[in-house]
């Protein structure tokens, strides 16, 4: 096997699990709350900066910073829900309001990051350092960790939604809000739970990816666009779809990058998604309006 090929596969699987991790939170919120959370990228850097702060200012190891970043991002997302999402739930202008509000939040977060830290790239240490060489390609242990974590989280979220009381309630709310409330499921709190979980997932992605992507106030934007693409490619609200689409797009992008050059990667992905939307407007796992989680 050629080095190039191995490089492309490794990069693709790594990208794929990264995109999947970001998309998982996005698709979860869309599926349950019908909220297109354009602040998802902002929550991503909230988690990463929180972890950076623990490492750089408290001088604590990354293994403590990681859970801190995750919890902080989850709490941030929940606070966003309380202040900006909850007041408009069930109101006629929900789409407009949340669209603008989440854009506003992501601007404010970038600006706050710029003020608190500075525009320079921050280094967050990897959880696992070191690497090994396979067929001439450097395989980092952190990369392996990202892949394993991503797959594990997909499994975990899937199991949570399928087998637990809260998970089933989330699916119930997403399918029939009124009936859910008649079954004594608190709808708005359930929304808050989903948004917090999604935020924690974004935060985890942020902490794990910061060593690879570098961290500055703008670094949330690209991962979010990628997550949006993956979410739509896989079919909005579909968790299985997000997983598969993450890998398909990751590997596609990686191959384009290795064989045609890095400047073609993003345009290539955009063209792929436009073609896909023409052929299958509902995404790979084309599910209609009702079935979402």
């Amino acid at each position: 096997m050629s080095t190039q090929f191995v490089q492309a596969v490794w990069g693709g699987v790594l990208f794929g699990s990264v995109y999947g991790l970001m998309a998982l939170g996005l698709t979860l919120v869309w599926g349950a709350v019908r909220l297109l959370n354009l602040a998802h990228g902002a929550i991503f850097i909230v988690g990463a900066y929180a972890a950076y702060w623990v490492v750089a200012f408290l001088h604590l190891p990354i293994l403590i910073a990681l859970p801190f970043g995750v919890l902080f991002a989850g709490a941030f997302a929940y606070a966003m829900h309380l202040v900006f999402i909850r007041p408009v739930i069930g109101k006629p202008g929900f789409d407009n309001s949340t669209l603008v509000a989440t854009v506003g939040i992501s601007i404010a977060v970038s600006a706050a990051a710029l003020l608190i830290f500075n525009p320079e790239y921050k280094v967050v240490p990897p959880v696992l350092s070191g690497s090994t060489i396979v067929a001439g390609v450097q395989i980092t242990y952190q990369g392996l960790l990202v892949i394993v974590t991503s797959l594990a989280l997909f499994g975990l979220v899937y199991a949570f939604l399928s087998y637990t009381r809260q998970g089933m309630a989330i699916r119930a709310v997403s399918q029939q809000t009124e009936a859910a409330s008649l079954m004594s499921i608190p709808v708005v709190q359930t929304y808050g739970l989903v948004i917090a979980i999604s935020g924690a997932l974004a935060g985890l992605a942020g902490v794990l990816l910061a060593p690879t992507f570098f961290l500055n106030p703008q670094s949330g934007f690209n991962p979010m666009i990628q997550a949006l693409i993956v979410t739509i490619f896989g079919g909005l609200g579909s968790i299985r779809g997000a997983l598969v689409a993450g890998f398909v797009l990751g590997i596609f992008e990686s191959f384009v990058e290795v064989f045609y050059g890095v400047s073609w990667a993003q345009p290539g992905v955009f063209i792929l998604i436009i073609l896909m939307l023409i052929v299958r407007p509902n995404g790979l796992f084309g599910i209609g309006e009702v079935r979402r989680l």
């Binding site: 009381r165 699916r171 119930a172 008649l182 499921i185």
Partner: protein
């Protein structure tokens, strides 16, 4: 146990219910009879908080539950089986049933409750893995009923159990409601057909254009064909 006083409710711009007074006692089967479009569904929705009432009071075991959130009213034990069943379409029959037992204290006893629901509707057990949206109309109604029974309901509010069903299925549904009632459950049923509810009813209210116009013991009222015909047509 359930007491409604001067309840006024409606939708934007139009008042549907103009001051309803109604009582359901422990273990009693109370029927609200009235033609379509006279406010039966609105009444049940106003009681269980889906449509916050404009005025009046709803008391449950002496507690004022007016304008509580629907999920808290359900948790208190007032369980509404809505018109159109409102099943969770893309999850299985079993998961639909389990959601009926969502409320914390009930969840622990969900298997016992499942057993009881299976006794009433044995087919639910065999087809637990089927998606709810693939069921037939009668099956959906039974599942909705079963889902309601999974909760720790003290009173069931059932909205037109026969709506859209074939005669044979209708009989089956009312027979199961009868069984439920005999187990001691209080019932508030909204219906438009006096013949269906004869066995269930202890007392009857007649609802016309948003007001209760008659109240009486079922034995007397349901026998009075002339009266019923003049109201229900």
């Amino acid at each position: 146990m359930l007491e409604v006083k001067g309840l006024v409710a409606g939708y934007a711009g139009s008042e549907v219910l103009h001051g309803i007074d109604l009582v359901v006692n422990e273990g009693e089967g109370v029927i609200v009879l009235g033609p379509n479009g006279h406010g039966k569904t609105t009444l049940l929705r106003a009681i269980t908080g889906l449509l916050p009432p404009r005025a009046g009071q709803v008391l449950f075991n002496g507690t004022d539950i007016t304008r509580w959130r629907p999920d808290l009213i359900a948790a208190a034990g007032v369980v509404h089986i809505p018109q159109g069943d409102l099943l969770f379409p893309e999850v299985t029959v079993l998961e639909n049933l389990l959601m009926g037992a969502y409320h914390g204290p009930t969840w622990a006893a969900r298997n016992v409750r499942l057993g009881r629901v299976y006794e009433l509707f044995p087919w639910l057990k065999e087809r637990g893995g089927q998606l709810a949206r693939t069921l037939s109309g009668g099956e959906r109604r039974m599942l909705a009923l079963g889902r309601g029974l999974m909760s720790k309901a003290q009173i069931l509010l059932i909205d037109e159990p026969s709506l859209g069903l074939a005669p044979l299925t209708t009989q089956q549904i009312y027979a199961s409601i009868q069984t439920v009632k005999e187990s001691g459950m209080s019932l508030l049923l909204a219906d438009e057909n006096a013949n269906h509810v004869a066995g269930l009813a202890d007392r009857v209210y007649l609802l016309e254009t948003g007001s209760l116009v008659r109240e009486g013991l079922a034995q007397e009222m349901l026998r009075d064909k002339a009266l019923l015909e003049s109201y229900l047509g």
